[in-house]
Symmetry: C2
């Protein structure tokens, strides 16, 4: 990321603020603070006015802020965040209307309201809307994050042996991610056998059996950016039924990916995947077909049966259809794609689909 | 946890609500939802009235809720949380005043306000105040979490060798925690050499040198409950200066622990530690001397230079003085103690202080 890229982001945000008649936006969501300042620490807010961007932080983070921030002024607060905002506010004489992000807690909002005399307007999705379209530096970071995920999974394969627990396997995968200098995008899901029928299963003490199926849903976070990949496979020789289900999910994913292109209605992508599973006489999944990701693991756009709107060039999304049969099995295949004007680029090709187990 | 324990919690919360003239509390903070219902999943709220406790969840979590919840009614919402609350509200004819937790986001609050016709009163710290005093089931869980932390650290010792990176070492410790069936209370901090002078350092690619010092701040989370331990030591033969600093921090911690007893002013505990460091002519740390923990890693009470109030029997707190010299070193020693009527119990004795390294 450089000054030019961050300058472009701020200009796009200011245009949105202008339309909404807001002179000054208080940014409290950590991902939005990072996006607008480059700062990766905690407990800090950004303030965007027509003329400048401020990072409100404290002494724990000033050293880090000086290293990370681009094009913004660092304010080291000594009192509460509310008091620091008021102090800054006094300098900003031309500010008439202040917006604050809706993700802010009631507690922070009330404390601010007490101190700042102006009306605070709660606003949502201003920066999230801008963040939807990834710039070149973001695509580089996402690709790096995916590359780490792929390597980490490869290095975990030797561990997938009868007797290993879901929790251990998740831990080993996380360790490999760490070894590669990254952290997790979200809590790794490892589910053996019928446990995979719960999309949000938490890794348990269940041990892998010889012919169990395995579902792994994971992603590295590198330089702030996420990746999100799911692989499903059989530990031993797969059953016919598993093969049938796997093939159906694979077809559903391929059908969805085939429709992707800037300008395409998102419901069309969603419907393509569901239709493929339905036509195999398998139960259609209840979750969405995909979602954007970047600094957060779930971002705009969301691809669901009720989605409104079209795909745009620069969207980075997951495509993740699944089949879930309680008490029996769960199969989900999830890849990450970049939407382009002419179609899409699959970013997760480096992450092998059918793992070759060593046992 | 059983019905009796959770019944007692709810009775204590209802007494607080009664004092504040609130008939019905909307609980949105995950730790508070767990505390009042037993439920450990996400995206769910609890509603506490004079007669019942409700868990508002959705189809992803109903199976889990049925297994985990004690003494509460499970409501599987199909629409937005706000609409589900309104639907429930219609059944609760006697409810006049509704409280909602201040940690709720503005977005959720505004959506509720639009649907619910009654005035919503933003309230803070009602359940947090009750949670401060740990009950027997919580102390058992915290002890189990500490025991896992101690084992995990012991099993990581063999990895502390020149060449290992901070990030790898953190990953190995996290892996051992996972292997023992737990997760992390918070992001593990591993800091080598001068990196330890930043209390919130993030593990980096820095490699361990032969005579580096090491700081590890970590904790397992088991059955929802945290632990929080810091160990500092030298990888090789310690320098005289490190030994001097270590001894000072150890004395500071001992001095603080000596003062602990139900009824003692918290500032007295804080001052005891700072004084010990000051009297060694070392710089006094800027962070607090300790904090409560339980379902969250930071809970009431907070032991700082400006703390008001006294310790109570049933407080479970950290005591964690430190010395930080930028560019040179950082030493922090953190143990967990249970406050009793006659003094305190150190819960982290099983976690060795001076690690015996294998190299």
């Amino acid at each position: 990321m450089n000054r030019e890229i961050i300058g472009k982001r701020i200009r796009r945000i200011r245009r949105e603020l202008n339309t909404k008649k807001i002179d000054c936006l208080i940014v409290t969501k950590p991902a939005n603070v990072t996006y607008t300042t480059g700062f990766m620490g905690d407990d800090s807010w950004a303030i965007i006015t027509k003329r400048a961007v401020y990072l409100m932080t404290d002494s724990r983070y000033t050293e880090q802020a000086e290293q990370e921030c681009i094009g913004c002024r660092i304010v080291a607060r000594t009192n509460s965040m509310a008091e620091a905002v008021v102090r800054l506010r006094k300098k900003l004489k031309t500010v008439r209307s202040i917006g604050i992000e809706k993700s802010t807690s009631l507690a922070a909002f009330e404390s601010l309201k007490k101190h700042v005399k102006l009306r605070l307007k709660a606003v949502s999705d201003i920066i999230e809307t801008v963040r939807r379209t990834k710039d070149s530096s973001e695509i580089v970071a996402i690709k790096a994050s995916i590359s780490i995920s792929a390597k980490a999974l490869k290095q975990t394969v030797g561990y997938i042996k009868p007797g290993v627990t879901e929790s251990e396997l998740a831990g080993m995968l996380d360790f490999q991610i760490r070894k590669l200098g990254a952290t997790n995008s979200f809590d790794t899901i490892v589910a053996f056998g019928p446990n995979a029928s719960r999309p949000h299963h938490q890794p348990s003490k269940r041990k892998l059996k010889k012919r169990d199926t395995v579902l792994i849903d994971f992603g590295a976070r590198y330089k702030g950016y996420c990746s999100d990949i799911t692989r499903s496979f059989a530990a031993g020789r797969p059953t016919r039924f598993f093969e049938k289900v796997y093939e159906a999910v694979q077809q559903a994913q391929a059908a969805a990916i085939k429709t992707i292109k800037a300008g395409v209605e998102m419901v069309k992508v969603d419907a393509a995947a569901r239709q493929a599973i339905n036509s195999c006489d398998l139960p259609v999944y209840e979750h969405g077909t995909g979602h954007g990701f970047g600094l957060e693991i779930h971002e705009f756009p969301f691809l669901k049966a009720q989605s409104k709107g079209k795909l745009k060039a620069g969207d980075v999304i997951t495509i993740e259809p699944g089949v879930y049969i309680p008490g029996k099995l769960g199969v989900r295949i999830e890849d990450d794609v970049l939407v382009t004007d002419t179609g899409c680029k699959i970013l997760t090709n480096s992450c092998q689909h059918m793992l070759k187990l060593s046992n």
